[in-house]
Protein backbone atom coordinates (compact mmCIF):
# COMPACT_ATOMS: atom_id res chain seq x y z
CA UNK A 1 0.00 0.00 0.00
CA UNK A 2 1.25 3.46 -0.88
CA UNK A 3 2.73 5.62 1.81
CA UNK A 4 1.83 8.88 0.07
CA UNK A 5 -0.51 11.29 1.79
CA UNK A 6 -3.30 12.25 -0.56
CA UNK A 7 -5.09 15.04 1.30
CA UNK A 8 -5.10 18.54 -0.20
CA UNK A 9 -2.21 20.81 0.85
CA UNK A 10 -2.89 24.38 1.92
CA UNK A 11 -0.10 26.98 1.96
CA UNK A 12 -0.01 29.39 4.90
CA UNK A 13 2.55 31.89 6.14
CA UNK A 14 2.47 31.20 9.86
CA UNK A 15 0.81 29.32 12.69
CA UNK A 16 -1.88 31.92 13.30
CA UNK A 17 -2.95 31.87 9.67
CA UNK A 18 -3.05 28.06 9.72
CA UNK A 19 -5.34 28.07 12.76
CA UNK A 20 -7.62 30.68 11.18
CA UNK A 21 -7.75 28.67 7.95
CA UNK A 22 -9.06 25.68 9.92
CA UNK A 23 -11.83 27.87 11.35
CA UNK A 24 -12.67 29.28 7.92
CA UNK A 25 -12.89 25.80 6.42
CA UNK A 26 -15.26 24.68 9.17
CA UNK A 27 -12.89 21.99 10.40
CA UNK A 28 -12.99 22.79 14.11
CA UNK A 29 -15.38 22.16 16.98
CA UNK A 30 -15.29 25.85 17.82
CA UNK A 31 -11.97 25.72 19.61
CA UNK A 32 -8.62 26.28 17.90
CA UNK A 33 -6.99 23.18 16.45
CA UNK A 34 -3.38 22.20 15.93
CA UNK A 35 -2.56 22.65 12.23
CA UNK A 36 -2.00 19.19 10.71
CA UNK A 37 1.40 19.40 9.06
CA UNK A 38 2.60 16.48 7.00
CA UNK A 39 5.29 15.62 9.56
CA UNK A 40 2.80 15.53 12.42
CA UNK A 41 0.36 13.41 10.43
CA UNK A 42 3.14 10.97 9.55
CA UNK A 43 4.15 10.70 13.21
CA UNK A 44 0.57 9.86 14.08
CA UNK A 45 0.37 7.13 11.41
CA UNK A 46 3.72 5.72 12.40
CA UNK A 47 2.70 5.43 16.05
CA UNK A 48 -0.14 3.13 15.02
CA UNK A 49 1.85 1.52 12.18
CA UNK A 50 -0.84 2.35 9.68
CA UNK A 51 -0.59 3.09 5.98
CA UNK A 52 -2.39 6.30 5.02
CA UNK A 53 -4.93 4.55 2.81
CA UNK A 54 -5.87 1.83 5.26
CA UNK A 55 -9.62 1.81 5.79
CA UNK A 56 -10.51 1.85 9.49
CA UNK A 57 -14.26 2.06 9.11
CA UNK A 58 -16.92 2.20 6.44
CA UNK A 59 -20.07 4.08 7.37
CA UNK A 60 -22.61 2.31 5.20
CA UNK A 61 -25.49 4.74 5.52
CA UNK A 62 -23.23 7.62 4.52
CA UNK A 63 -21.12 5.68 1.99
CA UNK A 64 -18.01 7.06 3.67
CA UNK A 65 -14.71 5.22 4.02
CA UNK A 66 -12.71 6.46 6.98
CA UNK A 67 -9.02 6.11 6.19
CA UNK A 68 -6.06 6.17 8.54
CA UNK A 69 -4.77 9.36 6.92
CA UNK A 70 -7.96 11.27 7.70
CA UNK A 71 -8.04 9.94 11.25
CA UNK A 72 -4.41 10.94 11.75
CA UNK A 73 -5.08 14.45 10.47
CA UNK A 74 -7.95 14.92 12.89
CA UNK A 75 -5.96 13.41 15.76
CA UNK A 76 -3.25 16.00 15.16
CA UNK A 77 -5.85 18.76 15.00
CA UNK A 78 -7.38 17.56 18.28
CA UNK A 79 -4.03 17.84 20.05
CA UNK A 80 -3.31 14.12 20.50
CA UNK A 81 0.15 12.81 21.17
CA UNK A 82 1.11 10.17 18.58
CA UNK A 83 0.94 7.55 21.33
CA UNK A 84 -2.81 8.20 21.59
CA UNK A 85 -3.41 7.25 17.96
CA UNK A 86 -4.05 3.51 18.60
CA UNK A 87 -6.80 4.50 21.06
CA UNK A 88 -8.39 6.84 18.53
CA UNK A 89 -8.18 4.09 15.91
CA UNK A 90 -9.89 1.57 18.19
CA UNK A 91 -12.68 4.05 18.94
CA UNK A 92 -13.20 4.74 15.23
CA UNK A 93 -13.37 0.99 14.59
CA UNK A 94 -15.99 0.84 17.36
CA UNK A 95 -18.28 3.51 15.95
CA UNK A 96 -17.86 1.95 12.52
CA UNK A 97 -19.05 -1.42 13.81
CA UNK A 98 -22.53 -2.35 12.49
CA UNK A 99 -23.67 -3.01 16.08
CA UNK A 100 -22.98 0.62 17.01
CA UNK A 101 -24.88 1.53 13.84
CA UNK A 102 -23.45 4.99 13.21
CA UNK A 103 -26.26 6.71 11.35
CA UNK A 104 -28.82 6.61 14.19
CA UNK A 105 -26.80 7.90 17.13
CA UNK A 106 -24.67 10.09 14.87
CA UNK A 107 -27.61 11.95 13.41
CA UNK A 108 -30.50 11.73 15.84
CA UNK A 109 -32.25 14.65 17.50
CA UNK A 110 -31.61 12.89 20.82
CA UNK A 111 -28.11 14.34 20.60
CA UNK A 112 -25.99 11.42 21.77
CA UNK A 113 -22.25 11.74 22.20
CA UNK A 114 -19.72 8.92 21.98
CA UNK A 115 -18.93 7.85 25.54
CA UNK A 116 -15.54 6.12 25.47
CA UNK A 117 -14.38 3.94 28.34
CA UNK A 118 -10.71 2.97 28.25
CA UNK A 119 -9.59 -0.21 30.01
CA UNK A 120 -6.34 -2.09 30.42
CA UNK A 121 -2.73 -1.10 30.96
CA UNK A 122 -2.69 1.54 28.22
CA UNK A 123 -5.05 3.68 30.29
CA UNK A 124 -2.36 4.03 32.93
CA UNK A 125 0.57 4.24 30.50
CA UNK A 126 -1.04 7.14 28.65
CA UNK A 127 -2.42 8.84 31.79
CA UNK A 128 -6.13 8.61 31.06
CA UNK A 129 -7.99 10.05 34.02
CA UNK A 130 -10.06 7.58 36.03
CA UNK A 131 -10.33 9.62 39.23
CA UNK A 132 -11.03 13.16 40.44
CA UNK A 133 -13.08 15.35 38.12
CA UNK A 134 -13.73 12.30 35.97
CA UNK A 135 -15.88 13.94 33.31
CA UNK A 136 -14.21 17.34 33.63
CA UNK A 137 -11.25 18.95 31.90
CA UNK A 138 -7.59 18.71 32.76
CA UNK A 139 -6.24 15.52 31.20
CA UNK A 140 -4.76 15.62 27.74
CA UNK A 141 -5.51 12.00 26.88
CA UNK A 142 -9.19 12.23 27.86
CA UNK A 143 -9.70 15.62 26.23
CA UNK A 144 -7.93 15.02 22.95
CA UNK A 145 -8.84 11.40 22.14
CA UNK A 146 -12.55 12.13 22.37
CA UNK A 147 -12.07 15.36 20.50
CA UNK A 148 -10.25 13.51 17.72
CA UNK A 149 -13.15 11.09 17.33
CA UNK A 150 -15.67 13.94 17.20
CA UNK A 151 -13.56 15.81 14.62
CA UNK A 152 -13.49 12.66 12.46
CA UNK A 153 -17.27 12.47 12.78
CA UNK A 154 -17.54 16.10 11.72
CA UNK A 155 -14.87 16.38 9.06
CA UNK A 156 -14.84 12.91 7.53
CA UNK A 157 -18.27 11.38 8.14
CA UNK A 158 -20.20 14.62 7.75
CA UNK A 159 -21.86 14.86 11.19
CA UNK A 160 -22.33 18.61 11.24
CA UNK A 161 -25.00 20.43 13.20
CA UNK A 162 -27.99 21.29 11.04
CA UNK A 163 -27.43 18.67 8.35
CA UNK A 164 -26.28 15.21 9.42
CA UNK A 165 -26.05 15.92 13.14
CA UNK A 166 -29.53 16.95 14.18
CA UNK A 167 -29.08 16.89 17.95
CA UNK A 168 -31.81 19.13 19.37
CA UNK A 169 -29.76 19.97 22.45
CA UNK A 170 -26.64 17.83 22.27
CA UNK A 171 -24.46 18.05 25.36
CA UNK A 172 -20.91 19.01 26.35
CA UNK A 173 -19.75 15.40 25.96
CA UNK A 174 -19.87 15.98 22.23
CA UNK A 175 -16.59 17.87 22.63
CA UNK A 176 -14.97 14.87 24.33
CA UNK A 177 -16.41 12.14 26.55
CA UNK A 178 -13.60 9.84 27.59
CA UNK A 179 -13.04 8.12 30.91
CA UNK A 180 -10.91 5.23 32.10
CA UNK A 181 -11.89 2.62 34.64
CA UNK A 182 -10.06 2.81 37.96
CA UNK A 183 -8.80 -0.77 37.77
CA UNK A 184 -6.13 -0.34 40.44
CA UNK A 185 -8.57 0.63 43.21
CA UNK A 186 -11.57 -1.30 41.98
CA UNK A 187 -12.40 -4.59 43.69
CA UNK A 188 -14.42 -5.64 40.67
CA UNK A 189 -13.82 -7.32 37.33
CA UNK A 190 -12.88 -4.63 34.80
CA UNK A 191 -15.41 -3.80 32.11
CA UNK A 192 -13.27 -5.17 29.27
CA UNK A 193 -12.78 -8.51 31.05
CA UNK A 194 -16.54 -8.78 31.54
CA UNK A 195 -16.84 -8.17 27.82
CA UNK A 196 -14.50 -10.96 26.76
CA UNK A 197 -10.99 -9.54 26.83
CA UNK A 198 -8.02 -10.41 29.01
CA UNK A 199 -7.03 -8.09 31.84
CA UNK A 200 -3.66 -7.38 30.24
CA UNK A 201 -5.26 -6.30 26.98
CA UNK A 202 -6.31 -2.70 26.44
CA UNK A 203 -9.65 -1.75 24.97
CA UNK A 204 -11.99 1.12 24.35
CA UNK A 205 -15.73 0.71 24.74
CA UNK A 206 -17.88 3.13 22.77
CA UNK A 207 -21.47 3.79 23.76
CA UNK A 208 -23.86 6.33 22.25
CA UNK A 209 -24.79 8.28 25.33
CA UNK A 210 -26.59 11.17 26.95
CA UNK A 211 -24.83 13.37 29.49
CA UNK A 212 -23.93 11.94 32.92
CA UNK A 213 -26.68 12.18 35.54
CA UNK A 214 -25.11 12.57 38.97
CA UNK A 215 -26.80 11.12 42.05
CA UNK A 216 -25.96 11.74 45.68
CA UNK A 217 -26.28 9.87 48.93
CA UNK A 218 -23.79 10.24 51.76
CA UNK A 219 -26.12 9.05 54.50
CA UNK A 220 -26.57 5.44 53.43
CA UNK A 221 -23.97 2.86 54.39
CA UNK A 222 -25.48 -0.03 52.45
CA UNK A 223 -25.31 -1.18 48.86
CA UNK A 224 -29.09 -1.39 48.66
CA UNK A 225 -29.46 2.11 50.09
CA UNK A 226 -27.09 3.74 47.65
CA UNK A 227 -28.43 1.88 44.67
CA UNK A 228 -32.03 2.64 45.67
CA UNK A 229 -31.11 6.32 45.43
CA UNK A 230 -29.63 5.67 42.02
CA UNK A 231 -32.71 3.77 40.86
CA UNK A 232 -35.10 6.47 42.12
CA UNK A 233 -33.34 8.95 39.84
CA UNK A 234 -32.80 6.56 36.98
CA UNK A 235 -36.24 4.98 36.70
CA UNK A 236 -37.58 7.86 34.62
CA UNK A 237 -34.62 8.83 32.50
CA UNK A 238 -33.37 8.75 28.96
CA UNK A 239 -35.80 7.41 26.43
CA UNK A 240 -37.67 5.65 29.32
CA UNK A 241 -39.49 3.19 27.08
CA UNK A 242 -36.81 2.64 24.45
CA UNK A 243 -34.70 0.21 26.48
CA UNK A 244 -31.32 1.64 25.63
CA UNK A 245 -28.19 0.51 27.40
CA UNK A 246 -26.95 2.44 30.44
CA UNK A 247 -23.55 3.07 31.94
CA UNK A 248 -23.38 3.20 35.73
CA UNK A 249 -20.23 4.91 36.95
CA UNK A 250 -19.57 4.23 40.62
CA UNK A 251 -17.04 6.56 42.25
CA UNK A 252 -14.78 5.90 45.23
CA UNK A 253 -17.05 6.15 48.29
CA UNK A 254 -19.97 4.36 46.69
CA UNK A 255 -17.68 1.73 45.16
CA UNK A 256 -16.21 0.94 48.56
CA UNK A 257 -19.56 0.86 50.36
CA UNK A 258 -21.15 -1.40 47.77
CA UNK A 259 -18.19 -3.77 47.45
CA UNK A 260 -17.71 -3.97 51.23
CA UNK A 261 -20.93 -5.96 51.36
CA UNK A 262 -19.55 -8.40 48.86
CA UNK A 263 -21.64 -7.18 45.96
CA UNK A 264 -20.19 -7.91 42.52
CA UNK A 265 -20.90 -5.92 39.38
CA UNK A 266 -23.42 -8.63 38.47
CA UNK A 267 -25.19 -8.05 41.81
CA UNK A 268 -25.32 -4.31 41.07
CA UNK A 269 -26.75 -4.94 37.61
CA UNK A 270 -29.36 -7.32 38.96
CA UNK A 271 -30.49 -4.88 41.68
CA UNK A 272 -30.65 -1.92 39.30
CA UNK A 273 -32.53 -3.96 36.69
CA UNK A 274 -35.17 -4.92 39.27
CA UNK A 275 -35.56 -1.47 40.79
CA UNK A 276 -35.77 0.69 37.67
CA UNK A 277 -38.89 -0.91 36.26
CA UNK A 278 -42.01 1.18 35.67
CA UNK A 279 -45.57 -0.01 35.66
CA UNK A 280 -47.26 0.12 32.29
CA UNK A 281 -50.02 2.15 33.98
CA UNK A 282 -47.55 4.88 34.99
CA UNK A 283 -46.04 5.03 31.52
CA UNK A 284 -49.52 5.39 30.02
CA UNK A 285 -50.68 8.00 32.54
CA UNK A 286 -47.63 10.08 31.80
CA UNK A 287 -48.18 9.60 28.05
CA UNK A 288 -44.91 7.83 27.39
CA UNK A 289 -46.85 4.81 26.16
CA UNK A 290 -49.94 5.27 24.02
CA UNK A 291 -53.40 4.14 24.95
CA UNK A 292 -55.73 4.04 27.95
CA UNK A 293 -54.80 2.31 31.19
CA UNK A 294 -56.25 -1.19 31.07
CA UNK A 295 -56.79 -4.03 33.48
CA UNK A 296 -53.46 -5.46 34.52
CA UNK A 297 -51.45 -2.34 33.65
CA UNK A 298 -50.99 -1.44 37.32
CA UNK A 299 -49.10 -4.68 37.83
CA UNK A 300 -47.49 -5.10 34.41
CA UNK A 301 -43.92 -3.85 34.57
CA UNK A 302 -41.66 -2.58 31.86
CA UNK A 303 -37.92 -2.77 32.57
CA UNK A 304 -35.86 0.33 31.80
CA UNK A 305 -33.31 -1.90 30.04
CA UNK A 306 -34.00 -5.12 28.18
CA UNK A 307 -31.62 -7.16 30.31
CA UNK A 308 -29.28 -6.64 33.30
CA UNK A 309 -26.39 -7.10 30.86
CA UNK A 310 -27.38 -3.77 29.31
CA UNK A 311 -26.09 -1.92 32.37
CA UNK A 312 -22.35 -1.30 31.97
CA UNK A 313 -20.90 -0.92 35.46
CA UNK A 314 -17.67 1.06 35.64
CA UNK A 315 -15.59 1.90 38.73
CA UNK A 316 -14.32 5.45 38.25
CA UNK A 317 -14.36 8.90 39.81
CA UNK A 318 -12.78 10.63 42.78
CA UNK A 319 -12.10 8.95 46.11
CA UNK A 320 -13.95 11.62 48.08
CA UNK A 321 -17.61 12.49 47.73
CA UNK A 322 -20.78 10.44 47.88
CA UNK A 323 -21.59 10.88 44.22
CA UNK A 324 -21.88 8.53 41.29
CA UNK A 325 -23.54 8.78 37.90
CA UNK A 326 -25.74 6.90 35.51
CA UNK A 327 -25.64 7.58 31.80
CA UNK A 328 -28.57 6.73 29.54
CA UNK A 329 -27.65 5.36 26.18
CA UNK A 330 -29.17 6.43 22.90
CA UNK A 331 -32.52 5.16 21.62
CA UNK A 332 -32.73 1.44 22.15
CA UNK A 333 -30.14 -1.31 22.38
CA UNK A 334 -31.63 -2.87 19.27
CA UNK A 335 -30.78 0.30 17.35
CA UNK A 336 -27.29 0.86 18.77
CA UNK A 337 -25.25 -1.10 21.26
CA UNK A 338 -21.98 -0.50 23.02
CA UNK A 339 -18.98 -2.00 21.28
CA UNK A 340 -15.62 -2.87 22.86
CA UNK A 341 -12.61 -2.97 20.56
CA UNK A 342 -9.04 -4.00 21.16
CA UNK A 343 -6.44 -1.24 21.20
CA UNK A 344 -3.71 -2.76 19.08
CA UNK A 345 -0.41 -2.28 20.80
CA UNK A 346 1.60 -2.19 17.63
CA UNK A 347 4.78 -1.32 19.51
CA UNK A 348 4.89 -4.79 21.09
Amino acid sequence: MTTSLTSTRHAVTDLAQAMELCFEKGWTDGLPVVPPTEAAVRDMLEAAELAPGEELAFITNRQVAVTAEKVAINAVMAGCRPAFMPVVVAAIEGIGDPRWAYHGPGTSTAGAAVLMIVNGPIARELDFNCGDNLFGPGWRANATVGRAVRLVMRNVIGSRPGTLDRGTLGHPGKLSYVIAENELDSPWTPLHVERGFRAEQSTVTVMAAEAPHQFYNQLSSTAAGLLTTCCDDMRISGNVVGQSQYALVLAGEHMRTISAEGWSKADVRSFVFEHTQNTVAHLKRTERLAGPVEAGDERARRPLVASPADILVVAAGGRAGAFSAYIPGWGSRKASEAVTTLIKDRRA
Binding site: N61, R62, Q63, H103, T107, G158, G162, T163, L164, R166
Partner: protein, 75 residues
Protein backbone atom coordinates in the same frame (compact mmCIF):
# COMPACT_ATOMS: atom_id res chain seq x y z
CA UNK B 1 -35.16 8.84 2.97
CA UNK B 2 -32.34 6.34 2.48
CA UNK B 3 -34.87 3.60 1.80
CA UNK B 4 -36.30 5.72 -1.01
CA UNK B 5 -32.86 6.30 -2.52
CA UNK B 6 -32.08 2.57 -2.33
CA UNK B 7 -35.40 1.60 -3.90
CA UNK B 8 -34.81 3.98 -6.77
CA UNK B 9 -31.28 2.62 -7.25
CA UNK B 10 -32.74 -0.84 -7.95
CA UNK B 11 -35.48 0.54 -10.16
CA UNK B 12 -38.38 0.52 -7.72
CA UNK B 13 -40.30 3.83 -7.76
CA UNK B 14 -40.41 5.42 -4.34
CA UNK B 15 -41.52 8.61 -2.64
CA UNK B 16 -39.65 9.59 0.51
CA UNK B 17 -41.30 12.01 2.91
CA UNK B 18 -39.51 14.07 5.56
CA UNK B 19 -40.86 16.70 7.91
CA UNK B 20 -39.84 20.19 6.91
CA UNK B 21 -37.16 20.64 9.58
CA UNK B 22 -35.30 17.67 8.10
CA UNK B 23 -35.08 18.95 4.54
CA UNK B 24 -31.42 19.93 5.04
CA UNK B 25 -30.67 16.47 6.45
CA UNK B 26 -32.44 14.74 3.57
CA UNK B 27 -30.49 16.80 1.06
CA UNK B 28 -27.22 15.96 2.85
CA UNK B 29 -28.07 12.24 2.72
CA UNK B 30 -28.83 12.54 -0.99
CA UNK B 31 -25.43 14.16 -1.54
CA UNK B 32 -23.77 11.33 0.45
CA UNK B 33 -25.31 8.81 -1.93
CA UNK B 34 -24.28 10.65 -5.07
CA UNK B 35 -27.80 11.81 -5.99
CA UNK B 36 -27.70 15.47 -4.91
CA UNK B 37 -30.86 16.32 -6.85
CA UNK B 38 -32.89 13.43 -5.45
CA UNK B 39 -36.52 14.52 -5.22
CA UNK B 40 -38.43 13.94 -2.00
CA UNK B 41 -41.52 15.31 -0.27
CA UNK B 42 -41.91 17.33 2.87
CA UNK B 43 -44.67 17.94 5.40
CA UNK B 44 -44.92 20.17 8.49
CA UNK B 45 -43.11 19.11 11.65
CA UNK B 46 -43.87 17.38 14.02
CA UNK B 47 -45.97 14.28 13.40
CA UNK B 48 -45.22 11.99 16.36
CA UNK B 49 -47.80 13.63 18.64
CA UNK B 50 -50.64 14.04 16.14
CA UNK B 51 -54.01 12.43 16.70
CA UNK B 52 -55.29 9.71 14.39
CA UNK B 53 -57.61 12.24 12.76
CA UNK B 54 -54.78 14.72 12.22
CA UNK B 55 -52.61 11.99 10.72
CA UNK B 56 -55.40 10.97 8.37
CA UNK B 57 -55.69 14.59 7.28
CA UNK B 58 -51.94 14.80 6.65
CA UNK B 59 -52.10 11.61 4.59
CA UNK B 60 -55.00 12.91 2.52
CA UNK B 61 -53.14 16.14 1.84
CA UNK B 62 -49.90 14.57 0.70
CA UNK B 63 -51.27 11.51 -1.13
CA UNK B 64 -51.64 13.30 -4.49
CA UNK B 65 -48.02 14.48 -4.25
CA UNK B 66 -46.88 10.93 -3.52
CA UNK B 67 -48.71 9.62 -6.57
CA UNK B 68 -47.31 12.41 -8.72
CA UNK B 69 -43.71 11.83 -7.61
CA UNK B 70 -43.95 8.07 -8.08
CA UNK B 71 -45.40 8.45 -11.57
CA UNK B 72 -42.91 11.13 -12.59
CA UNK B 73 -39.92 9.33 -11.12
CA UNK B 74 -36.62 10.95 -10.36
CA UNK B 75 -35.74 11.92 -13.97
Amino acid sequence: MLDGILFEKVGVPAAAIVTDVFESTGRAMARSWGVPDYRFLSMPHPIANLTEAQLDQRAREIAPEVVKLILQGQE
